[in-house]
């Protein structure tokens, strides 16, 4: 573990998993949406649901959705700030099947109409794992640049994506492939060492057979 994971992070209390990690879940969701969120439905599961109030988990997730970092002193007032900004939200408390005890499911809508549903868990020490996007398994931390491509499961898409990256000298750190059925819906999750330029994202978005491209610059 990095020394600043031991001495640090600087954060608003009281809990690295239930507060700092919850802020990060909101923040990464905001980045995945890639536009100003206007409304969200947030489902809390397990320990998030049971002890969230005392840990400020709800305020922490809202703070993250509004773009605050884990050490932002406004976290305790994030609900008031959300009201001032006209950001609408509501919380539900339900069991999410097969989920880590500290899990939130966020359905968020942006000002330009883009919608995304993110399921994420706070796995300790303020670190998180994005489990699912729009119901499809993904599993990444958001600590690295991450490219998520939803496409039709047919030959050639992996090659198209990787050659687009190599063309821009972007090195792939990790790569995961998922699909719901042969010839069905497939997802690539690629973590990269370098930032991916916007034009490459646009290019991928226009490829035939590609349904949706989401890009997350490393969220520190």
């Amino acid at each position: 573990m990095n020394i600043f994971d031991i001495i640090g992070p600087i954060m608003v209390g009281p809990s690295s998993s239930h507060t700092a990690g919850a802020v990060r879940i909101g923040l990464v969701t905001r980045h995945l949406l890639a536009q100003e969120p206007v409304s969200a439905t947030i489902t809390l599961h397990g320990s998030f649901s049971a002890t969230g109030f005392g840990h400020g988990t709800q305020k922490a997730i809202i703070a993250g959705l509004l773009g605050m970092l884990q050490d932002d002193m406004r976290i305790p007032q994030s609900d008031v700030i959300a009201d001032q900004l006209g950001f609408e939200y509501n919380f539900e408390y339900k069991t999410i099947k097969d989920a880590h005890p500290n899990t939130a499911l966020i359905h968020v809508i942006g000002k330009n109409g883009r919608e995304i549903e993110v399921q994420a868990s706070s796995i300790g020490g303020g670190r998180i794992l994005i489990n699912k996007i729009d119901g499809i398994l993904v599993n990444f931390s958001g600590e690295q640049n991450t490219l998520i491509v939803h496409n039709i499961d047919q030959p050639g898409h992996v090659a198209e994506v990787t050659s687009t990256l190599s063309h821009k000298s972007v090195n792939i750190a990790t790569m995961q492939l998922f699909r719901d059925a042969r010839g069905g819906y497939a997802v690539m999750v690629i973590e990269t060492d370098q930032d991916i330029p916007n034009e490459s994202i646009d290019w991928l978005n226009h490829l035939e057979g590609v349904i949706k491209v989401t890009y997350l610059s490393a969220v520190k």
Partner: protein, 292 residues
């Protein structure tokens, strides 16, 4: 990679004739590919955030649940009477530990070290010593690397979280880190740092994580005090030449074994110990009826 044993750190210190601090910071800048200055700046930020948290303590605040708040202030007032058993320095350490734990519970900004629940231990001893003794900020920053290096080894060999290993893996680890830093600040040897770390961790082996209503409040805030005071006594023992019969790496392994075998009811689930006492159940019911 961070070091897998304290033994390896001692070996490198002796081989290269370097201090514990130098070995740890060199490893950090290599591993993170940053400059010495960048690393030092970041650690200085951590120190400044600890000082800010202490300075901005508000003794009038209560946590959302109402269970904690104001005890740091009570301890400071008691300190002013100059009649405590612990003497002024240790009483100040107790006050600082309470202040930080309470600030954390009240959603103020703190530095997790190694966790938010144990955030009071290291600043309690370092801030108090910094204010009482004639030492520079530079020395304190170096001591923070010593503390961090110890925490890294424990994270590598065992775990640093109540959910994984009980309170021994939070307050116990923070205490071990703090004692090593204290020995370093008084120019103790690397072997003395290891003995202090071993004794400190040994004293808190088996400590369970049993929060009332699952909150980082009861008994967490006051456990920061035992972590801090334990660090002082073990640092003094080590500096007096007292040795731990069980080597530090083996104590860390013992903590891991205990944590792995500890029932999950004692690992931050609020299903055991203080967390299921009749009073805890009452509190939980009160909170449930007023909250969600």
């Amino acid at each position: 990679m961070s070091f897998k044993s304290m033994e390896k750190i001692v070996e490198l210190c002796l081989e290269q004739n370097k201090s514990f601090y130098e070995i740890i910071i060199e490893e950090d800048i290599n591993e993170s590919a940053i400059t010495l200055e960048e690393s030092l700046n970041k650690m200085t930020q951590m120190w400044k955030a600890m000082i800010d948290a202490s300075d901005n303590y508000n003794g009038k605040l209560k946590s959302k649940s109402g269970l904690v708040g104001g005890n740091g202030l009570k301890m400071l007032e008691y300190l002013d009477k100059k009649d405590s058993y612990c003497g002024s320095f240790t009483t100040k350490v107790i006050a600082e530990a309470l202040k930080m734990g309470e600030s954390n519970a009240c959603m103020k900004r703190i530095v997790a070290a190694p966790t938010a629940g144990s955030c009071g231990v290291i600043p309690a001893v370092l801030i108090s010593y910094y204010q009482y003794a004639d030492i520079s900020e530079k020395e304190i920053i170096q001591a923070l690397y010593v503390a961090g290096g110890i925490g890294q080894v424990i994270a590598e060999r065992a775990f640093v979280s109540g959910a994984a290993g009980g309170c021994q893996a939070e307050i116990g680890v923070a205490s071990a880190m703090a004692s090593g830093a204290l020995v370093f600040l008084k120019n103790g040897t690397v072997e003395q740092i290891c003995h202090a770390t071993a004794m400190t961790l040994k004293n808190l082996l088996g400590l369970v994580c049993d929060p009332v209503a699952g909150l980082v409040e009861v008994p967490c805030v006051k456990r920061n005090v035992i972590g801090a005071v334990n660090a002082l006594s073990c640092a003094d023992m080590a500096l007096a030449g007292i040795e731990s019969q069980v080597p530090v790496d083996q104590v860390i392994d013992a903590m891991k074994e205990i944590g792995e075998n500890m029932d999950t009811m004692y690992k931050e689930t609020a299903c055991g110990g203080c967390g299921i006492t009749p009073r805890a159940v009452e509190i939980e019911n009160e909170l449930r009826s007023t909250n969600i």
